[in-house]
């Protein structure tokens, strides 16, 4: 989808603009990504079957926190960015209402990293519900982590751990 390509290119521009203040770049990047990701679908998927056991209140609290976490994780990539190029390598349709956009991050002489965006159609717009890096689904990876924390220590602990990590990432970004 063209919107994803626009978003990724826009994000790259923001990341490459080393002269602008970090604060400003964060705000721009957040604005660029927030409408392209389906954070509620990501949250539901990342909790797996535990989602059904949660109250509406817990669900919205989790979605809010996980959204902030993903945003900060994405934003923290600003620091790592050193001019890598993103190549768009077309789409793989995944069936009615689903598609995958394939990209490769080219980094000099090292072998490129494949980063694919999984999108679903909501009414007329396409939104990202998962990202795979080197064939590893990020949401599925968090699902395994969250499942372990909930089973061993409960949902409350997961919220506490997630919050701590999110704040850690946020402080890494500088306020």
């Amino acid at each position: 989808m063209a919107v994803t390509q626009t978003m990724v290119n826009h994000a790259l521009q923001i990341m490459a603009d080393k002269n602008a203040p970090v604060q400003q770049r964060r705000r721009q990047l957040r604005e660029a990504i927030e409408n392209e990701f389906d954070f509620s679908e990501m949250s539901r998927s990342a909790l797996g079957y535990h989602w059904r056991a949660l109250s509406p209140n817990q669900r919205s609290q989790f979605t809010q926190l996980f959204t902030a976490f993903i945003e900060d994780a994405y934003l923290s990539k600003i620091q790592d960015y050193s001019g890598q190029q993103v190549q768009f390598q077309g789409q793989t349709p995944l069936g009615q209402g689903y598609t995958q956009i394939n990209t490769a991050i080219v980094q000099g002489s090292k072998s490129p990293i494949s980063v694919n965006y999984l999108l679903l159609q909501k009414d007329t717009t396409w939104k990202i519900y998962d990202v795979t890096v080197d064939a590893i689904s990020i949401i599925a990876n968090y699902r395994n982590q969250f499942n372990r924390v909930i089973n061993e220590k409960g949902f409350g602990q997961l919220m506490a751990d997630l919050q701590a990590k999110q704040q850690e990432l946020a402080s890494l970004l500088g306020s």
Partner: protein, 281 residues
């Protein structure tokens, strides 16, 4: 369970199943005359048959597209208590031994030299790669691996330079016996974390043992030469690899809520993806 039973019943109706039983009875008779041995042998082959059978009916329905949402399956981890101990042991070993040693090594040896050391080990480890491509009947890849070894060992200064890729465009095709077993339908089995070796599964452990047995040195020199050589090789290989990926864990840890779970899932997903790759090309 019902799928397993169905597979068993289906397996028993196949001609190769009866052939297996006939062979097993003959073989049992040959090995020892007693009835008990015959029965055990037949039973063992039966077990093997039903394990292999699912590979022949690999028309499992593909999962529906889109996010699995709240119906996502998670895999079990029956060895979790052992695995977690080993995971933290490996992490400490890495933190206090491997990472400091690799950092010092990276400091004294420039990157191109370390990349050449990596190429050297890649080159000498060509036998399992070639063999497993062969086992999966990927003749071009298997031949390519042998050609790569020939080219890199000579023109590539004993394997220090991967000229087979840069001059001749012959890409390396990574493969191992765990993938060969997977290719023929063997499931991954439980997740296991080994001390020193790291994440694996039951299937990949068997694969690792088989691949290790292809290392030729122990067949030519006495054990008191091959054992220290093998250990030394493993250590240098590990240090060299770590020196080329110095922030391997730090990257994962920065974004992980549960590091063990992140590494476990990463391993399982990576292996599943590799298997899908080799099955589709």
């Amino acid at each position: 369970m019902s799928r397993f039973l169905k597979t068993c019943v289906w397996g028993m109706t196949q001609p190769w199943f009866r052939a297996n039983i006939a062979v097993s009875i003959d073989f049992g008779r040959l090995m020892a005359g007693g009835k008990l041995v015959k029965t055990i042998f037949a039973a063992l082959l039966f077990a093997l048959t039903v394990t292999v059978a699912p590979a022949f009916c690999a028309d499992l329905p593909a999962p529906p597209p889109g996010p699995p949402g709240e119906y996502a399956q998670s895999y079990g981890d029956p060895l979790a208590p052992f695995n977690e101990k080993m995971f933290w042991f490996n992490l400490k070993l890495d933190k206090y031994v491997l990472h400091p040693v690799a950092s010092g090594y990276a400091f004294v040896l420039p990157k191109p030299a370390r990349e050449s050391v990596g190429n050297f080990f890649n080159n000498v480890n060509f036998i399992p790669r070639a063999a497993n491509n062969l086992f999966q009947l990927k003749m071009a890849n298997a031949g390519g691996e042998v050609a790569r070894f020939g080219i890199n060992s000579t023109l590539g200064a004993g394997g220090l330079f991967d000229v087979a890729d840069s001059w001749f465009g012959l890409k390396q095709h990574n493969d191992d016996f765990g993938l060969t077993l997977g290719h023929y339908g063997v499931g991954s089995g439980a997740y296991i974390v080994w001390p020193f070796l790291g994440p694996s599964t039951v299937r990949d452990t068997v694969g690792y043992a088989a691949d290790s047995a292809m290392w030729p040195l122990p067949y030519f020199v006495p054990w008191y030469v091959s054992l220290p050589t093998g250990a030394g090789k493993a250590v240098v290989e590990a240090v060299n690899y770590r020196s080329l990926h110095l922030n391997l864990f730090e990257e994962v840890d920065r974004y992980a809520i549960d590091l063990y779970g992140a590494v476990q899932d990463g391993y399982m997903q990576r292996r599943a993806a590799r298997l899908k790759d080799i099955n589709s090309d």
